[in-house]
Symmetry: C2
Subunit: 123 residues, 2 copies
């Protein structure tokens, strides 16, 4: 059993198709890194919620969780809502290592990749 | 004067820092493609709004606008709100060529880049 997990954390929306790109990323990560469980969780409007996913992973024996916010930028959701969830998780499970990564837009290699794509597609 | 423009379209947030990644993408695109004006517009909570940016560009002589939604996925904002804005723009300026690109999460090369980054940063 894997002891490390990745939770891809997305906003959620009423439209079920919203989840498709996140599922594609999940599948690509899971295919490339078979040493970790790779799960998807949502802030609102979609299930599963982050606390539920984390709880299940911990019950399965996971000792280290990397939370990756699949958000374009940091606003109230990542600065206020997510820290509350992570603080609660760390309080309830101090034995579990919970790591938070930057958002997509805070990663220069990703903003550069997006910029290069924009240049290609612009008419 | 350039006759083509790119409008990078983002959600917006109350936190001013939300705009920073989008400004970084804007700067990278503008630096690489100096044949086009490159502007940023927001759906809500931040200025400028898309119709205002488009109107100004058209008054400056722009005849072709590519709208690039810097959203992770397609939900109500891109399926309902954005088409209303684009329809109004095309109605008011039928002489202007308005092109819409996919969202970030609909572009396989970008979801792959995101997945590769996730694999690198996960503990």
């Amino acid at each position: 059993m894997s002891h490390s997990a990745i939770i891809l954390f997305a906003h959620g929306a009423r439209d079920p198709a919203w989840a498709l790109p996140f599922r594609a990323i999940q599948a690509a990560v899971a295919a490339s890194d078979q040493t970790k469980k790779v799960e998807l969780a949502f802030l609102e409007l979609m299930q599963p919620a982050l606390p539920d996913v984390a709880e299940r992973l911990i019950q399965e024996g996971v000792q280290s969780i990397t939370v990756v916010p699949l958000f374009m930028a940091q606003g109230g959701h990542l600065k206020k809502d997510l820290p509350v969830l992570l603080d609660a998780l760390r309080d309830q499970h101090p034995e579990v290592n919970v790591t938070l990564t930057p958002a997509i837009g805070d990663v220069p290699e990703l903003t550069q990749a997006i910029a290069q794509w924009v240049i290609q597609v612009a008419v």
